[in-house]
Subunit: 233 residues, 2 copies
DNA sequence: CGGCATCCGGGAAGATACTG
DNA sequence: CAGTATCTTCCCGGATGCCG
């Protein structure tokens, strides 16, 4: 890194920042730059490597990703960690405080789900889908349901545990799942949010379901979307 | 407006946007531009005029404010409204959906309050202070408290009603207040968040308290701040 | 391959001046 | 008071190349 930039960082004058003591304004200073929140979203379910991040963020360029990782590290949101040999790769991982930013994503997601301009036909990352399940879960609809639901999305697998009107979902092996959904994020979104019948999606081969199909049907109804707001004139 | 810019808007190609169906990414497309969230914050307690917004946003320039108001209007977050004569001024007002963005501010504020880099000595707007009271209010500490607390901040007055472990606070005349605080936002913040004794602040003349002083003391303890996160290395 | 530096073009942000 | 016009600065995004 150039000496000049190092100096800027040490003096804390590198970024434009709001001169405002409001905590919300400070939050925008920390994570309001372009791509910063999406980088955090991609780390929210566990550490990733530089190239994993690039793959899951369509359109980000390498130098911008480098800059964001630097400033988020400087803010204390994430840390770089060297994995022990033999997998001696470098990964980026949220700090404990970084993980506590999840309510921000939930508030943003719930609000933007009502946007009249939202286009759900765009690319959809695995993390987006999994986090959206945590966000849109309806405790009322899941009362008295106890189940383990697995997901196979690309190379990754996730296990969800529903109990006591709550949902947990995390990267995990699929042992003990009552039912497993396999498909791409858009297909799973169509089943859960788009109201597409599971049979239709299975017939096209886009979706596979193993295990308790009645439970699968019930599960897809646990994530109601809010109504759209009025379109601007 | 120039023809060129109108055309851009109609074609919807004016802004860079994330090609991502995730609702969080869409939220950043809507309100992720610099200043956009702070403009919304300043409208969260009711409509304001262009020049009111400029005053309460230290550092924003007129053309940027114009652009933000345009794009937030296009997104359906706010509307321009012409007040009826004789006060025939133009004001900007959040839509119903715009007002529903308040949980975003609360999540951002709660999270950023733990930031190790937060500097509370900067300028502090009236709206920031009032919204922070809604955010940081502790229902447990206020159980069994029923009270009306007034604020006089610059030209504005706010009335807060505490009851049933909840807080309401809005622009209002101060009729019926049990106690009234008068002072600037930084001074009020010092009393409520900084733990400054009220007597000290009153002696310097920065703070005035009228009414039930015991209640005033109790009130300042209802807004605990979370502990700071660890500083980055 | 993973990560970072450098150069370049376009566009958004910021400051100032100006107008109805 | 409520914005526009213009100019400058700086950030974003893409391409390329270096180094371990």
């Amino acid at each position: 890194m150039k000496l000049e930039k190092v100096t800027e960082k040490l003096e804390g004058r590198s970024k434009r920042h709001y001169e405002d003591a409001c905590a919300t304004a400070h939050a925008m200073d920390l994570v309001g730059e372009r791509w910063a929140l999406l980088v955090m979203r991609e780390l929210m379910l566990g550490p990733k490597r530089f190239s994993d991040l690039r793959e899951s963020l369509p359109g980000i360029s390498a130098n911008v990703l480098t800059q964001r990782l630097e400033s988020l590290e400087a803010a204390g949101v994430l840390v770089r960690r060297k994995l022990p040999p033999p997998a001696a790769a470098q990964v980026y991982e949220l700090t404990e405080w970084g993980y506590e930013s999840e309510p921000i994503f939930q508030a943003l997601g719930r609000w933007a789900a009502r946007s009249p301009l939202h286009d759900p036909t765009l690319p959809f990352s695995t993390n987006s889908l999994v986090l959206s399940l945590r966000t849109m879960f309806s405790p009322e609809r899941a009362r008295d349901l106890e189940a383990r639901v697995g997901f196979r999305i690309g190379e990754e697998t996730f296990l969800s545990h529903l109990a006591d009107g709550r949902i947990e979902i995390a990267r995990s092996a699929l042992d003990g799942a009552d039912v497993i959904f396999a498909g791409t994020p858009p297909v799973l979104a169509a089943a859960i949010y788009g109201g597409q019948p599971l049979e239709t999606l299975e017939q096209t081969g886009a979706l596979q379901i193993e295990g308790n199909r009645v439970l699968a049907r019930r599960f897809t109804g646990l994530f109601p979307l809010p109504p759209k707001a009025a379109k601007p004139a």
